[in-house]
Subunit: 430 residues, 2 copies
Amino acid sequence: MSTEPLKVAVAGLGTVGGGTIKLLQANADVLAERAGRPIVITCVADLDRRDRGFPVDGYVWFDDAVAMARNGDADVVVELIGGSEGVAKAVCEVALAAGRHVVTANKALIAHHGNALARAAEEAGVSLGYEAAVAGAVPIIKALRDGLIANRRRRVYGILNGTCNYILTSMRESGRSFNDVLSEAQALGYAEADPSFDVDGVDSAHKLTILASVAFGCTIDFAATHIEGIRHIAPEDIAFAEELGYRIKLLGIASLTDHGVERRVHPCMVPLSAPIAHIEGVFNAVVADGDFSDTIMQEGRGAGERPTASAVVADIADIACGRSAPTFGVTIAQLAEVPPAEMSRHRGAYYVRLMVVDRPGVFADVATVLRDHDVSMEAVLQRGRSPGEPVPVVMTTHETEESAMVGALGEIAALKAAVEKPVMIRIEPF
Amino acid sequence: MSTEPLKVAVAGLGTVGGGTIKLLQANADVLAERAGRPIVITCVADLDRRDRGFPVDGYVWFDDAVAMARNGDADVVVELIGGSEGVAKAVCEVALAAGRHVVTANKALIAHHGNALARAAEEAGVSLGYEAAVAGAVPIIKALRDGLIANRRRRVYGILNGTCNYILTSMRESGRSFNDVLSEAQALGYAEADPSFDVDGVDSAHKLTILASVAFGCTIDFAATHIEGIRHIAPEDIAFAEELGYRIKLLGIASLTDHGVERRVHPCMVPLSAPIAHIEGVFNAVVADGDFSDTIMQEGRGAGERPTASAVVADIADIACGRSAPTFGVTIAQLAEVPPAEMSRHRGAYYVRLMVVDRPGVFADVATVLRDHDVSMEAVLQRGRSPGEPVPVVMTTHETEESAMVGALGEIAALKAAVEKPVMIRIEPF
């Protein structure tokens, strides 16, 4: 193993780029000791040369990150620009083509172009590290690839977006609406001005797509991921969930089914007895089920300058130590092309909230539709009576097929007594 | 990297040895794919040749595990005999001296002889893997050494013994005494016939000793670990803890203090808001605090045939992949000789339960002793009155030094009104 310094080029000096540079500066001594060689920054790239509060004078500055990836004096190029296309993608492609290792925190890039980038890394005989792309400081990629390597995986799931978890926690604690809490989260800096990537589930889906590939050794397939966000979750649903012994979490879940790999991101009702129900606020958690390990949960900060830098530098240190693994746990040739499982064939239990006009016979109509679709009810809650007014009716079902549930809800929505689109939340029996 | 099969010798066919062989047989295909080469068992050693329900005919059988470690046709010797001395130790020493990698699940061996074994491994240029020695299937050693490599560690702590956690959980849920619950745990197979290694904290201390070395890069120092078990925990204490917003857990805690490395195993009062308070039953959990990662918690099964085998085989797979790291994260020459922090200088808050005769002036006597030792009370609970009879008085203190607390409790125990030795439980403000 080399004891020469490992030379690192950092592309993008935003939040995570700044954190990475600060970490490599602050902890250079312990890193050199643990990795067996110094890790040194040689060059950085950013369009904006403003002062960021940490010294950069020792580094060669590039305005053009792609030029740095091609010509910089570096063993490793760290891509922290972000976005699935454009400069970020070009930096990684050019670096790999030049035979340099690549480390990135870019989940969108890996979720969209992971197969091609992994192939390029494999052909060049270099590493493509992306620990920071999923769950921030939580070393879940290494856990799946190394620590839990001996297991056949049945399922991997998690709370993958701190913004959504913060909003759901805050809605539960305060009883306020999604929009109110979102505005507050934006004011506090926990949510972006344009929050759609987070609250519509896209960010979680990027991360789940990556987790599924590592867990099951299959190709990256973002398009196969079923995605729902949390905009439709109402305070009533959160209150009914508590009453029924559940907590609502936005989960990403990948599992092996008889129909292929199921990848889905949507709000879930999780029993309060499940440890993941107690992960609150901006924290992330990932649970991996293995045939020998049984259930392993890892929890920590899923975002932020310093936690994300911790994961970025762990990937750099792996390269410094000469530790490597195929990008998604097996070689490109071995990656399985598993068919995606259709969401319509998903089986599970459901929570449904209807707003119906309170008059005789309405519930019989609803029950008839469910029976006609072979959906079996487990429990019904109806609170208060307001003859002639809309009232909530809440039901939970026994396990049924998604297609049957969707069909039944379509007919129920068309009933004259139904005054709103029914709310449906899947129940996960962890 | 070699693509030749990695040859494995397994010493000890008890619970974990059996699990390891079953795993290597059942998951040989995925392991070969992920590790890039087959992992094959070549020989096994045990004194007892009885049928264990899995095939062993393809392996060379040794009655003498040490002879196998010396002469067996193996790249890796897996020591699953147990015990800190005798055959287990000899197997590891002989295997390392013969230039073979060693993998073990033996926490007592590493906690007592880890420094010498790590030195022998380093001199031979081979790996010494012990992931399975701490927290079963939870890959905490790799997480500290690889995934969280970039962090200066402030503290590492955890629930490290499933038997104790099961007993404490069961005492809380049922309100029964330690002895009752222990008998039940023994009948269910959750506790050994001789439970002292578990319930007196020794097993947790072995694991904490190892965690401290990996977290802080310091030499193994079992003798420096302060150890208390759970025999003295009474149902009253568990009930008072709940009333005060705490849960009682047996924790192992290692932290860097101004006086050196503090290593301690004892029952703790943990606030209910801390995720670790909710780890119940036989589960283990380990929390690592890093300067960049912040708090990372990992939870899973800490014992048992299959979870422990998952960790043993992860170490074997690391060797198959050519991934290595210094045994305790840095080389032997770099391991720090940090002085152990004296427990008498520990600072923290305390819960104290006294049984005192209920008569005027007793509380004034207690308060005077505390004042004389500079111990500041935070809260006092006294339930019920029984003039002339013993009643519990419960107090919590502000942060104070252990020596002051111990001095005060010695004087309080000597008061005429004190009818039992005071119970003291440290409060951890996670």
